[in-house]
Amino acid sequence: MSVAIIGVGQTGYRRSFADKSSRELIWEAARLALEDAGMGIDAIDMVISGVAPDALAGEASVERTAMLGFGKPFLRINTGGVTGSSAVFAGNTFIRARRARAVLVVGLERMGQATSSQQVFNTIFDPVYEKDFPLTTITMAALRASMLMRLYGYTAMHWAQIASRSYRNALRNPLAHIHRDVSPEDVLNSPLLAWPIHRYEACPMSEGACAMVLVDEGMVGDRIPAWIQGAASITDSYAMGDRIHRPGATLVDLLSLKLAAQRAYAEAGVDRPREQLRAVELYSAFSSAEAMAYPALGLCASEDGPRFVEAQFTDPTLPVINPSGGPQGANPVSVTAMVRIAEAALQVREMAGERQVADVERAVATGQGGATQFSTVCVLGKRQAA
């Protein structure tokens, strides 16, 4: 049973939507996805919702007030940063298991209501051994970035180039939160948050909702599908300190992403990712997270990472990374991983407007959650997997 995405709805992403309540954001994205799919809510068998830490919104179970239709099974998913992709994968699984023919997946991030998000992010760490330290999403990324610089020769300039490329891609994405032409020099000149991370390398705090309609192959009809060719979700140990000495699977090797990629590629029939994947939507909230994804996705060897960054600016045959601007353009945490799949779907469906990449037969979308103990990889294609 093949599954296709035939509807994508996004509210767009901003620092805050003062003109919309939480339920209105959810409704808006769901409405747009159904419209894109040419379906009414009555044709939907099941609704799957994804919201990550409630404290970011200051509302417990924020999805509860936004029921979509009547008399359907409903479930909520929270796997941190991969909440959005986990929700899509759940829909994919229900359809493949023939428990549903059409699933509406909807995610919301409402962190515009939070006035101190890094303080909230500190609460996602272990209260016993970790919460007394200034561990946040930023410092967690910094601990890895410094390791990548030492091991593979990345420089502050590489981080700045990656961030600048994403900002400039986001200029072509009307849904992005940040529309600012940031040069690598601008990144390097922005204040240092936590060595080696500068302010302009850190992803923004964004909110907004994203929704998708997934159907079985018999329901695609005349709609334009993005076929889910491969989808894999892999866990790793929680403790980052436990991963430092693992041979071939250290803190910066992203073993879980690598295994997820291998599994998703095998399902999709991808064996030359660098040639077969034209568009890559990475869950890279920081440049260092993008660098860790290159070898995991088979785009280059770890030690060739810095050269791969440079080559992206000169070699048009390389896959286009984050044509949407990625999390640098908008980072609505709960839905960031869903947005990656949504954007990859738009690329495959040739509906990405000004940010459309040419000849996207296949695209890949990743997700990273928690202390990267959750990784997801989703391969989408114009055709069903052989």
Partner: protein, 150 residues
């Protein structure tokens, strides 16, 4: 028309239960000023800080072994910007593998000259040896100790 906003505040109190293994780890910090790990019965890795089970093998870790007090810095960050609700910068935070341990432990690095951040970063990049330093009156918390460059 003016858009309405409504003020909110989450200010809940919690008591976190550390469990038996972490309680014993904290007890060792307070009473004996030593850092303990527990060995996995299956992969035989000495996990620090101590815990009840190895989450890779799903096996119990019931052999208690002292590690350190010296070790090697593995990776670090220097926090230079203040965030609401978090300690004031500059702060050096690092993963350190204490001698004898198979895993690295996170804590703060104290006593460094941070007047030149780039220079301090280069010093830490060399992965220096460090020593555990306890506070004068340990309370049985992970903050009872920090690392100091040797």
């Amino acid at each position: 028309m003016e858009l309405v906003t409504i003020e909110g505040k989450w200010d809940f109190n919690y008591t976190y239960f550390a469990g038996e293994s972490a309680s014993r780890f904290f007890h060792e910090l307070r009473e004996n000023q030593r850092i303990m790990g527990t060995r996995c019965t299956k992969c035989e890795k000495l996990l620090v800080p101590a815990r009840a089970y190895c989450d890779v093998c799903m096996s119990v870790t019931d052999e208690w072994v002292e590690v350190g007090p010296e070790g090697t810095l593995e990776t670090f960050t220097i926090i230079t910007t203040a965030f609401p609700g978090l300690p004031k910068p500059p702060i050096v935070m690092a993963y350190v593998t204490l001698d004898g341990a198979d895993t690295a432990l996170i804590n703060l690095v104290h006593g460094m000259d941070l007047s030149d951040i780039e220079k301090a970063a280069q010093k830490l990049n060399a992965l220096p040896r460090v020593r555990v330093e306890f506070i004068d009156e340990p309370k049985g918390r992970i903050t009872d100790f920090s690392f100091k460059l040797i």
